[in-house]
Amino acid sequence: MKLKGKAHVYKKDDINTDEIIPARYLTSDKEEELAEHAMEDLDTEFVKKVKKGDFIVAKENFGCGSSREHAIWALRGSGVRAVIADSFARIFFRNAINNGFVAIESKGISGKVSDGDELEIDIKSGKITNHTKNEDYIFVPLSDFAVELMNDGGLINHIKKGAKK
């Protein structure tokens, strides 16, 4: 699977779920409603500039804090196809796997990619191509289990499929 999109780079560690989707909006779990407020407490311009298929690039420990899966839904609803970070907080990463949402760990990526760069992610080979800068970066390939969940369309569909076997 290959994904192509534009990078929105946040050179910040510990971008937390309160910044990705503030708790004041958690009375909804609808992607389109949450999407209106994605990244609001970090960057009020984000929802205006993000386009379908774009990527977020960030530093260490992306998605720390609350367990709210609303963080994934808000990003996906806003059009974000993948987050590429130096590292991820555990529950965010787990939620990403369970949702079949692409979360890619690539050490040092935040220092290599500039805002607006056109990137291409090759999930299978573990390679990111920066078409703007003509550079390639490698990342930790997703585990077989994560790929299986992604192909099944998330954990619930995976369980449903398993039950049918």
């Binding site: 510990d14 910044e19 009375t27 367990s67 709210r68 994934i72 555990r90 787990r94 939620n95 619930i156």
Partner: protein, 421 residues
Amino acid sequence: MGMTITEKILAKHAGKDVVKPGELINAKIDLVLCHDVTTTPAIDMLEKAGMDKVFNPDKVVVTPDHFVPNKDIKSAEMVNRIRKWVKKHKIKHFYDIGRHGVCHAILPEQGHVVPGMTIVAGDSHTCTHGAFGAFSTGVGSTDIAAALATGELWFKVPETIKFVINGKLPKGVYSKDIILKIISDIGVDGALYKAMEFTGSTISDLSVEARMTITNMAIEAGGKSGIIEPDEKTLEYVKKRTDEKFEVVKSDEDANYSIVMDYEASKFEPIVAVPDLPSNGKSVGEVNNVKVDQAYLGSCTNGRIEDLRIAAEIMKGKKVKEGTRMIVVPATTDIWKAANKEGLLDIFMEAGATVSTATCGACLGGHMGILAAGENCISTTNRNFVGRMGSPKSKVYLASPATVAASAIEGKITDPRGFLK
């Protein structure tokens, strides 16, 4: 090679003799804890998938707490949805208004937690219950849906970091100061993906409630779980509340730890975590004179009866400084009743504070004490991220109940040690 308490619990629940860190397992879940915000999406997912079932209604505890009492129509609809679902699936452990409270305070208080069990909830502070020697971890709504339907969940077995704390804590220093110091030392991702095991004579000397403050904040260092081996105090607390059978699990002498960190308790002092991360711990003396607009005493971290007693002792006969607001939120209905009976609520009210009903409320910027732009709050809660308690331009300082009480009286961040006899 021996196993840690965490590895042993996970091995047993995966039906294995041995597990190793990094191994992917499927583990049986003994208890699923559900609150208002993350449960409705799980119910939706299950209904949509045609899997609307509960693996064992007696192993599900439902505690609406985040936006309770409901703050608006949307949150009222959310909890109503949960009420109907609880009824449909005959879930008897449902803590609706009148029995309500913050989920992580209610769960052990009402005897749902025993050593050696596995617990998940759609809430990051689920690590709290590790204080009883259980494996307890926060997950998302999809995981809650899967756990509700199947009673199982996938896990990667975590490595464990051991924190050994020995000696006597100085007066005016509490378990909150211990955990804020540890998080400041290792950072908000210092225990990423790992279990944090706390041990040593200082931990043994702490009450069970005080231990919960430590495990509660494991997630603030990125931890998957926090855990403390059960001892006599644990068993006394648990047996008072339930007849449930359980097995006490302990780490082997030759268990493998990724890191072991040693602390001497006498060196601890009151800590304040300044904005915008829980790892920004400073000694209280470095930040005194920061003006306090609001002082908040409550939450799953520090809203239990002992926390209220500590604050009340400092506030008795004193007044909250003019220009400062103090909000006291007993974490559960039973804590509220006990505090009322002991006269603690009178002490707070006479001091000019207000006492609310149990709720997560303002801790996560929900309701009942939201901050305006430019305001500072000193709080016994667990997070001081940007906008956590209200306006993205407000600031949250984390501290112990004693430091919060002393700061409310002075109207600025204050060392509590001057208030203690």
